[in-house]
Amino acid sequence: MRLTGKAALSFVLAGIACAWQTQGADEPKPKPENTVSVHLTEPVPPQKFANPPKFWIKEMADRSGNPQPMLVLHSRGGIFLDRQPTVIVREALEESLKSANLLAADADSADLVIRIYLFHFGLAEGSGLDFFGKVEFSAIVKNPKTGETAEVKASGTSIAKGAARKKNIQKNVQEDLEESLRDATRNFLRGQQLKDAVTLLSKGGEVAPVAPTKPEDKPH
């Protein structure tokens, strides 16, 4: 049997339309049952500074290039975040700074202003046997009085067990993301880079000392 040109074209178009529809049906959609809420279980205590400055997070920018930043896992109906990754990271940093009384009331009263560029938030490619959570960002710390800036990089990783059941996958992914968020927050707030940046930027401006720290509290 030979197909005429028109019939063959219709057949091909129908095939493409079917494939398009199937692809659309496989695309996961956010629903309450496949959405996870990621936040710090408790604030991360920052390192102790000789002259504790007041920080203010001015801006958070997503530089991951991910078109769907809230989609964490594509397979098995998908797993979504309930908020944008930038909001989650900002909340984690602000909570931790606030817990140590290092968060300024507003931008005008801040000694150092932070601008954050988020490069990765979510799962990264692992061995396939487990979940590899990764949070990576870079912060530009600025002294608004002098205009001087310093860059501080931070990253957090976590490995969580793989799972077969969807319920367990969701639980493990959520734990993995929370652990990597905690790790990145800790890496930033307790990092040598932040300590160096604060020391450098405090020289230029007047960062008011709050309380003298004991010599043994001074980080190495």
């Binding site: 390192q47 990264a124 490619e125 692992g126 061995s127 396939g128 046997l129 590899f132 990764k134 990253s155 957090g156 990783t157 976590s158 490995i159 790790d183 800790r186 890496n187 307790r190 990092g191 040598q192 880079q193 300590k195 010599p215 043994e216 509290d217 001074k218 980080p219 190495h220």
Partner: protein, 165 residues
């Protein structure tokens, strides 16, 4: 069938690796794992080093050899520096292997060699050097090697420092 047996061996090996640190008391206050570097000619993706870093930290936590595993570049209290270590290292050799050779004559495994240095944080004194050689089926993901290598480093550290304690 061969693939299934391979996965079974892998799962058993992983289970064995994770179930060996039950009665170890912490020897160090903190341990800092750093991103390893690749020697010249080693063709591994940057994501391999990221994953290995995460696996090494995870294995160190599981080993219970250290109280706290800190991230790269994190500050440590002066008082804890003497009882803290930094783990750094280099991947000295990586062979991609050959699936054809592996299937036909049993050779051509994917292999990785790395050297890890464990140094004391306070005075940078070298405490031990760990040599790791991992071989896996060439059809397996390269990151599986990272998992095995991290387990091996943690195992050798346990062996070395649990004896010295």
């Amino acid at each position: 069938m061969t693939k299934r047996i391979g996965w079974l061996i892998l799962v058993l090996a992983l289970a064995a690796g994770s179930a060996t640190a039950k009665d170890v008391t912490p020897v160090f206050k903190t341990a800092e794992a750093t991103h390893f570097t690749g020697a010249e000619g080693v063709e591994l993706t940057p994501s391999f080093y990221d994953y290995f870093y995460a696996e090494l930290r995870d294995e160190l936590k599981k080993s219970k050899l250290v109280k706290d595993v800190v991230g790269e570049g994190e500050a440590v209290d002066d008082a804890d520096a003497e009882k803290s270590v930094v783990i750094s290292g280099t991947v000295s050799e990586y062979k991609k292997g050959s699936v054809v050779k592996s299937r036909l004559i049993g050779f051509g495994m994917r292999s990785l060699k790395m050297d890890a240095d464990v140094t004391r944080r306070s005075d940078k004194q070298a405490l031990c050097v760990i040599h790791v050689h991992v071989k896996v089926d060439p059809s397996w993901n390269e990151k599986t090697m990272a998992k095995f290598a991290a387990q091996e480093i943690a195992r050798q550290m346990r062996k070395e420092f649990a004896q010295k304690k």
